[in-house]
C-alpha cells in the first residue's frame, strides 16, 4: 500500500510503483476530449470490423439493388420493410450500408499502408542512425528530397505510372509515408545512441543486429507511436482524395472517397446526402484519430517522463 493522500501531489517514488504502461494509460484518460476521441475511434473500428453483420443491406450484392430505389432521400421506406436511414445513392445502394463497407475499406487501406511504411521507415532510419557516415547521408538526402514534395503529388504520379488497383494504391501510400518514419526514428535513434546503455551493449560485444533490435528500437518507439497515429489519419485522407479524383480504388470496392465522388454530380440538383454522409463518416474517423494522437503526443512527451 503506497501512502498516497488524496489531493496531494504524488511523489516520484510512489508513481514509480506503477508500471510505465499504466501511467501512460492513466495520463491519457485524464483528458475528457481524448477519451471521447478514443471512444469514437473504437466505435468506428468496431463498425468496420462487423460491417457485414450490422449492415441492413449488402451493397456489393447486385441482386439486392434496384435502380428504381436510387437517389431516395434519407428516411425513405425500403420495399423490403426497413428504412433507408441515410437515403440511397445513384445505384440504389443503401447509404448506411455503403458507408459501413466503405469505412472498412478505408480503414484497412490506411492501416495496411501505415504498418508497411512504418516497417520500411524504421528499417531505413535505424540503419542510417546506427551506421552513420555515407549511408546516413545518402538515406537522409533521399528522405529530405521526398519530404519536400507534397504527398498528393507523389501519390498521383505513382498511380499514373503504376496503374490502379488496391495493391498499387497501398504501394503509393507506403512510398509517400515511409520518409516521415525514417526521419523521426533517425532523430530519436541519434539521441539514444549517446546514452550509456548503448555503450554498455557495445562493450559486451553484442552483434549490431542485436543491439539495434533489442536495445535501440524499443527506446525509439514513443515518438514513432505518435507519428504512426497521425499518419494513419493522413493515409486515410490521402486514399479518399485519390479515390475522389478517380485514381484510387476500383469501383467494385468503393471506399468513402469514391462514394463522395459518386455524389458529386448530384450535388447541384440538391441531392446532397450522397456526398454528405460519407464525408461525415470520413471526417469523424479522421477527427477521432487526430484527437487520440494529440493526447498521445502530450502523454508520451519525454519531458514528462521520469
Amino acid at each position: 500500500m503506497s501512502t498516497v493522500l488524496p489531493g496531494l501531489p504524488v511523489s516520484a517514488a510512489d508513481r514509480g510503483a506503477q508500471s510505465p504502461f499504466r501511467r501512460i494509460v492513466s495520463d491519457f484518460l485524464a483528458n475528457p476530449v481524448a477519451v471521447f476521441g478514443l471512444g469514437l475511434l473504437l466505435l468506428i473500428v468496431a463498425i468496420a470490423i462487423f460491417a457485414p453483420l450490422i449492415s441492413p443491406q449488402n451493397p456489393y450484392d447486385l441482386a439486392q439493388l434496384d435502380v428504381m430505389e436510387s437517389k431516395l432521400p434519407p428516411g425513405s421506406a425500403a420495399p423490403t420493410g426497413g428504412t433507408f436511414w441515410l437515403g440511397t445513392d445513384d445505384q440504389g445502394r443503401d447509404m448506411l450500408s455503403a458507408i459501413f463497407y466503405g469505412l472498412r475499406i478505408s480503414l484497412m487501406v490506411g492501416a495496411a499502408s501505415t504498418v508497411l511504411a512504418l516497417i520500411i521507415g524504421l528499417a531505413m532510419g535505424l540503419t542510417a542512425a546506427y551506421f552513420g557516415g555515407k549511408v546516413e547521408t545518402l538515406i537522409m538526402r533521399v528522405v529530405d528530397i521526398q519530404l519536400s514534395f507534397p504527398a498528393i503529388l507523389i501519390a498521383l504520379i505513382l498511380i499514373a505510372v503504376l496503374g490502379q488497383g488496391i495493391g498499387k494504391v497501398i504501394a503509393a501510400l507506403v512510398t509517400v509515408q515511409w520518409a516521415y518514419y525514417a526521419r523521426t526514428v533517425r532523430g530519436a535513434a541519434l539521441v539514444e545512441k549517446r546514452k550509456e546503455y548503448m555503450e554498455a551493449a557495445r562493450c559486451l560485444a553484442l552483434s549490431p543486429a542485436r543491439i539495434v533490435f533489442r536495445h535501440l528500437l524499443p527506446n525509439c518507439l514513443p515518438p514513432m507511436i505518435v507519428v504512426a497515429t497521425v499518419q494513419v489519419a493522413a493515409a486515410i485522407a490521402l486514399e479518399a482524395t485519390l479515390s475522389f479524383l478517380g485514381l484510387g480504388l476500383p469501383i467494385t470496392e468503393p471506399s468513402l472517397g469514391l462514394l463522395i465522388a459518386n455524389g458529386y454530380q448530384y450535388l447541384l440538383s440538391g441531392k446532397y446526402w450522397i456526398s454528405f454522409f460519407p464525408g461525415v463518416a470520413l471526417l469523424l474517423t479522421i477527427v477521432s484519430i487526430n484527437l487520440v494522437a494529440d493526447q498521445l503526443r502530450d502523454v508520451l512527451n519525454p519531458r514528462m517522463q521520469r
Binding site: I159, F244, Y272
Partner: protein, 326 residues
C-alpha cells in the same frame, strides 16, 4: 552569406538533374516510351517512322541526352489531346494556379497568425480553446469534401456564389492574367481559395500559438515588461518578431504543398489551372503533358526551397553571423 547561397544553388542544380533523371527513367525506361510519345492511334508505318525520328532505337544514355536537350530548349513533346506543345499548355495554365495558391496563402496568413497569437496569449479562455479545437477540425477535414459542402451551401442552397470556373481575367501590369481585379472574378475566387487555405490556416494557428506560448515564457519578455513597455509593444514588436522566423519558413515551404493540394481544389471547382490539366491528362493518358507538369513542378519546388533556405539564413541572425565567421 554569398558562399551559402552559391553552395545551396549548386546543390539545387544537382537535385534538378537527379529529378530529371528520375522522370526520364520513370517515363522512358519503365513506362513504355512508345506508348507515351507516339499517338496510340498511329498505324505500323507511322510508328516505325516515329520511333526512328524520336531516336527510341538508340542506347538509353543517348536518349537521356536528347531528352535533356529537349527539356532545356522547352520542347517536351506535343500533347496527344490538344496537339500543341505540352510545355506551352502547362505554362498557359500556371497563372491561374498561382493566383489560387497565392490567394489561399494570403487568407491563411491574414487569418491564421492573429488567431494563433490570440490563442497563444489567452490559452485557457473560451476563445483560445475554441480556436485550438477549430484548428484540429481544420486539418482533419478532407479538402475535397469541404469544397463540395461549400458548393452545396453557398451555390445551391443560398445561391450567393458561382459554383465553378474562373471569373473574367484582366492583365496585371500588362502581363499576368488575373481575375481578382473584378468583383465577378472575386466571387469565383473566394470559395476555392478559402477551401485551399483551410489546411494551412489550421497549421499556422497551431504554429503561432505554440510559438507565442513558448516565447511568452522567455526572459526577454519579463525584462521588457519590467522596463515598462506597454503590452502591445512587447507582443507586437518583440514576441512577434521572434516567432515569425520559423513561421515564415513554414509559409514558404507550405507554398509548394499548396500548389500540390490545388490539384484537388481545381478539380472540385473546375478552376482552369495546372492541377486540373494534370488530372484530365492522367485520365486521358496524355503523357507528354504529365511529363511537362512533372518537370515544371520539380523546378518550381526546387526554386521555392532554395528561396526559403536563403530567406531563413538572412532572417535568423544566428545563421547569418555564424556563417560570416566561417
Amino acid at each position: 552569406m554569398l558562399v551559402y547561397i552559391i553552395r545551396r544553388s549548386m546543390q539545387s542544380v544537382v537535385v534538378l538533374f537527379v529529378m530529371s533523371l528520375l522522370v526520364f527513367v520513370g517515363v522512358y525506361a519503365i513506362g513504355n516510351p512508345i506508348d507515351i510519345l507516339i499517338n496510340p492511334q498511329a498505324d505500323q508505318i507511322d510508328r516505325e517512322n516515329a520511333i526512328a525520328a524520336l531516336g527510341l532505337d538508340k542506347p538509353l544514355w543517348e536518349q537521356y541526352l536528347v531528352f535533356l536537350k529537349g527539356a532545356l530548349t522547352g520542347d517536351l513533346g506535343k500533347s496527344f489531346v490538344h496537339a500543341t506543345s505540352a510545355l506551352g499548355l502547362i505554362l498557359e495554365r500556371m497563372p491561374a494556379t498561382m493566383e489560387l495558391a497565392l490567394s489561399a496563402m494570403l487568407i491563411a496568413v491574414v487569418l491564421g497568425i492573429p488567431l494563433g497569437l490570440w490563442a497563444g496569449l489567452k490559452p485557457n479562455g473560451i476563445a483560445g480553446r475554441s480556436i485550438m479545437g477549430g484548428s484540429i477540425l481544420g486539418f482533419s477535414l478532407p479538402t475535397f469534401w469541404v469544397g463540395l459542402m461549400l458548393i452545396m451551401v453557398f451555390s445551391v442552397m443560398l445561391g450567393w456564389l458561382p459554383s465553378n470556373g474562373r471569373g473574367p481575367t484582366s492583365l496585371l501590369f500588362g502581363i499576368f492574367p488575373v481575375s481578382f481585379l473584378s468583383w465577378e472574378g472575386i466571387t469565383h475566387l473566394i470559395m476555392p481559395a478559402t477551401n485551399l487555405a483551410l489546411f494551412n490556416l489550421a497549421l499556422l494557428i497551431r504554429l503561432t500559438r505554440s510559438g507565442a506560448h513558448e516565447a511568452l515564457q522567455q526572459d526577454y519578455v519579463k525584462f521588457a515588461r519590467a522596463k515598462g513597455l506597454t503590452n502591445r509593444r512587447v507582443i507586437g514588436v518583440h514576441v512577434l518578431r521572434n516567432i515569425l522566423i520559423p513561421i515564415v519558413t513554414v509559409i514558404g515551404l507550405q507554398f509548394g504543398a499548396l500548389i500540390g493540394f490545388a490539384i484537388v481544389t481545381e478539380s472540385v471547382f473546375a478552376w482552369p489551372g495546372m492541377g486540373k490539366l494534370l488530372i484530365d491528362s492522367i485520365n486521358l493518358l496524355d503523357r507528354p503533358v504529365i511529363v511537362s507538369y512533372l518537370l515544371v513542378i520539380v523546378t518550381l519546388f526546387i526554386i521555392i526551397n532554395l528561396a526559403v533556405d536563403v530567406l531563413y539564413s538572412m532572417l535568423d541572425p544566428r545563421v547569418r553571423l555564424t556563417d560570416s565567421k566561417g
